[in-house]
């Protein structure tokens, strides 16, 4: 029969909205985790690029490319959260998109150095996959009401439009090409925001696992940072001094982990964004902010990681710290703290105002260090940053305001009880 008819039946299986049956949260599938790990390759390439070119121009390039890569990650994660992606065709498409991602990682380095066409093609392949997947989602397996149909129509239309604008960039030479990239990105973000703030009926499971996807990506990016730091400094001899400096660097990484995860709430995404009761107008802006604050979280971690690696290299080789090392370490940490603070500020119950103020002061202190810390030795800078972060951590630990979950665990029963 059968292969052909079976293939045919697979292709015709309408996509279904993910519907949870037993009240518990979903967890990320092994395929999603695999996809995230492939994304980390692209993130690692971006980090390496920044490491090679520690100038202001390099930082701007990094921010621009990171925003694009992150935006694709968000779109893929969102699709997998709303729709069921467990039929064989969806699995095959996701595997193909993973190879597309590897291709993307190979082109990201040249995006602003003569290789913009290859990068644009790589992004178009991934966006094209997403658009096809969305168009497939027109035919849902279950009945949708008029409100949901309207949402789907606008959402799919937006996807096609955004991909179309990106596709145009292939035909336009360079400065214009960058303009079209920016246009595509801005249209997408603005469109998503508009739809979510104006459509009460949206498609999305209350038991969303997007928060978990955010957490997983955060920890994978953090792990990549640890890898970069550890491999980058493996040349140093194991002396007590070197161990102490490494311990300081490691302490910063652990504290970054702590700031993100001790307030982690695995249900917050569904509660803020997919809510359709009378509070939706109040909650949706919070949800949108929560989502986009994560670009600061993730980019901040990568930049901090580069800063730590450069700082350790100078500390071990006895050289002065290059300005780029100081800027990446302090500004990366500031971006991370600002992003985490913003994302956690949006969760309910609200964060204690004193904690928010304390975080903001540390962000300010980091910026001050970035501007005026030019004479500090690498070890001293690392020690100051670690101590200041530790002081904030102690302050937050003492304040103990409305932390949603008692432990940074992923256990289901804790969240639901």
């Amino acid at each position: 029969m059968q292969v052909s008819s079976r293939l045919g039946s697979w292709c015709q299986i309408p996509v279904s909205v993910y519907a949870d049956t037993d009240g518990g949260l979903r967890h990320a599938s092994w395929l999603e985790l695999f996809l995230d790990l492939v994304f980390v390759v692209a993130v690692a390439e971006l980090g390496a690029m920044l490491h090679e070119d520690l100038t202001l121009a390099g930082l701007v390039e990094f921010v621009a490319l990171f925003a694009i890569v992150w935006w694709i990650w968000l779109s893929l994660s969102y699709f997998a959260d709303v729709f069921d992606t467990e039929d064989p065709v969806s699995v095959a498409m996701i595997v193909a998109s993973m190879f597309g991602l590897i291709f993307l990682s190979g082109t990201v380095g040249g995006a602003f150095h003569g290789g913009s066409l290859a990068f644009a093609v790589a992004v178009l392949l991934l966006r094209g996959y997403l658009t096809v997947a969305h168009v497939r989602a027109r035919h849902l397996r279950r009945q949708v009401d008029a409100g949901e149909r309207r949402f789907l129509k606008y959402w799919i239309g937006l996807e096609i439009f955004v991909t179309g604008v990106w596709a145009l960039s292939l035909f336009v030479p360079e400065p214009g090409r960058y303009g079209l990239w920016l246009a595509s990105l801005v249209i997408s973000v603005a469109g998503i925001t508009t739809i979510y703030l104006n459509f009460r009926r949206v498609l999305g499971p209350e038991a969303s696992h997007c928060s978990e996807r955010f957490g997983l990506f955060t920890i994978l990016v953090l792990g990549e940072t640890v890898l970069a730091v550890a491999l980058g400094t493996s040349v140093a001899a194991v002396t007590p001094g070197a161990v102490l400096v490494s311990a300081l660097a490691f302490a910063v990484v652990v504290m970054v982990w702590w700031f993100y995860f001790y307030r982690y709430d695995e249900r917050i995404y569904g509660r803020l964004l997919y809510v359709q009761n009378e509070h939706w107008k109040r909650l949706r802006p919070r949800g949108i902010t929560y989502v986009y604050a994560h670009v600061l979280v993730h980019a901040g971690i990568v930049v901090t990681g580069v800063g730590i690696a450069v700082t350790l290299e100078s500390a071990f080789s006895g050289h002065a710290l290059p300005p780029g090392g100081r800027l990446t370490l302090t500004l990366g940490l500031a971006a991370f703290l600002a992003g985490t603070g913003l994302a956690q500020w949006m969760t309910l119950p609200e964060m204690d105002g004193r904690v928010g103020a304390a975080r903001l002061s540390l962000v300010g202190f980091c910026v001050l260090l970035a501007v005026g810390g030019g004479t500090l030795s690498p070890t001293l800078l690392l020690a100051i940053v670690a101590l200041a972060t530790f002081a904030l951590l102690c302050f937050e630990g003492v304040t103990h305001d409305g932390v949603p979950a008692p432990a940074p665990g992923r256990s289901l029963s804790e969240g639901s009880s």
Binding site: A44, M98, G110, I219, V226, L227, S246, F250, S416
Partner: protein, 403 residues
Amino acid sequence: MSLASWAGSSLTGSLTVSTETGESLRHATWLELFFDLVFIVALAELGASLHDSLGVAGFVRFAALFAVVWWVWLAVSYYADTYATDDLLSRLFVVVAMFLVILLSRTIPDALAGGSLAFAASVFALRVLLTLGHLRALYMRSEARQFVQYWVGLEVLVTAVWGLSLLVPPPGRYGLWVASVSLGTAGLAVVYLGFDTIETQVSHFSERLGLFTILVLGETVLGVSYGTSFVALGAWAVFVGALAFAIVVAVWWLYFDRFDEQAVSWSPPDEDDRWLEARQRVIVNIYSHYLVHGGIVAMGVGLAVAVEASLAAHALPAGTPLVLYTGLAALLVGVALSHRTSPSSLGARPVLARCVLAAVFLALAAGWQPRSPVVVVGAAVCLLCALVAVETGRRAVTAPVPG
């Protein structure tokens, strides 16, 4: 409360066995995931050492050091699986262990080449930390008191043997390492099979094993594709890259399509007289992951070398097929064992098919020396795809997709 009394109470009072009564399984905590990611650094170092010395001797060194590092990972992870580690002291314990793992990864490249003392010392530090954690368990109220005492005694003994190796010069030192690892492995099996009443924690160890598998796999993808610029290279190299990626996907599918979250479960089965068999299965299931993880790392090194050779348009270095095919054989045997011993036991035929394919890979590793990257990687893709096709064909479309 004074600091001293707080320290005293947290040392003796708060350790419990993980028992969660919720309706669903425990899940790995974010701290455990973080710990695993740090351990990946050590595995990456091991892979890099293998990358630098392809060949039989290099492979044996890799397998031996991998066994030690994996055994440490197992011991720390299993500790966190057995006892509830939500208190502050336990978390500090994990954070310190992570830092020690970073130090450990630095000592790996020279561990069997003049730097064995540093390696032994960093493993010793981790083992001492773990033993202290276990000593806390003596203060725990437990129904399986004797079991816990024997287990803790075993930990102390194993750590002491490893500690002795610090005082003995190299050939003897390696002997003590082997003694310590064998003692730990055999002792654990004896304790679990010899005591009727054991601590039965609600285990999420299968998920930990699965997470570590996927992280190792992700490290492989990173190792193969990192730093490869696709702009400059030709269609041929992209083709080899795609083949390498196909192997990684096939391995992912082989492992996770039949992944069973309940494979490691110490809860007594329904018929009481079969507890011994059930425990044997769990122990084999856990240790089969040494082959899975080690095989994936070796395979990743082989693939990385093949992609590099095709990028530089060079012939393949001599030891590459050996590393790639032996790695694949090891992981096939490991996956077959782990699926065979899980509750939804894999049938005899698929197990046989996997073992036959492993034997074919071993034969290729021993006697085949092609110099073309495409041929080496392509042969592996064909064989693995044949296996996947046979397994899917047999089960038709009834099996659930991994999720």
